[in-house]
Assembly symmetry: C2
Homo-oligomer: 128 residues x 2
């Protein structure tokens, strides 16, 4: 559903507030052609919504649907991975302010027990 090239990057841009086609092209560097196709499939799949934000001139923007918003943990986890493993000497290109008073430190926990999720404590079981 979100595995094609540019799909998650486009979704990230929408999360960052860059909802317009040209803005996404500029920020991601995707070919306009490919991005247009990708946005179409994401809309078809119910992850993005294309809405007009101005008539005269007719202009569109992309918003996340509820299902799209649910991808936030995926995007943020990838962002954190990049910050940790790929960032250069001067740190990550983007900081995330949480509640306007501290840096967001994303971290996966189990809602049931409250603990941090460690792969060693998780056992996959095929559908019973």
């Amino acid at each position: 559903m979100v595995g094609e090239k540019w799909a998650l990057l486009a979704i990230r841009e929408v999360f960052l507030g860059n909802r317009r086609f040209d803005e996404m092209v500029r920020r991601t560097g995707a070919p306009r052609d490919t991005l247009a196709a990708r946005l179409r499939t994401l809309v078809e799949r119910g992850i993005l919504d294309r809405r007009q934000y101005s008539e005269h001139p007719t202009r569109y923007e992309y918003r996340l649907t509820d299902a799209g918003v649910d991808l936030y943990p995926v995007v943020i986890s990838l962002l954190r991975w990049g910050d940790e493993h790929l960032a250069g000497a001067d740190g990550p290109p983007l900081l995330l302010q949480h509640h306007d008073d501290h840096r967001l430190v994303p971290h996966l926990t189990c809602e049931a027990c409250g603990e941090a999720v460690d792969p060693r404590h998780v056992r996959p079981v095929r559908r019973p």
Copy 2:
């Protein structure tokens, strides 16, 4: 780094304990050719490690490096998204047991303040 087709699926299989080439082909349905290429790039990028687990016959398996293990939140978040938005009537194909006594309910929090992460409370800031 992990955006090409089959990359995250291969990584997922390794997390699930399916570390052998043929096993991954069977489970993911990827073309052998493509999977072989993908595994090669993932090894080059330091996400997987290819190690011999038997001489005579010579056999290899793929293990996650530390950087690879750090992708766990990404894989788990995607898995949860799929469970929520794509699972059919009989539920998700895979259950995750946490500490052998309850179902894992993955959930992104901020380590700094302990709260659940809500996109509305996060403000991206370009590098200062």
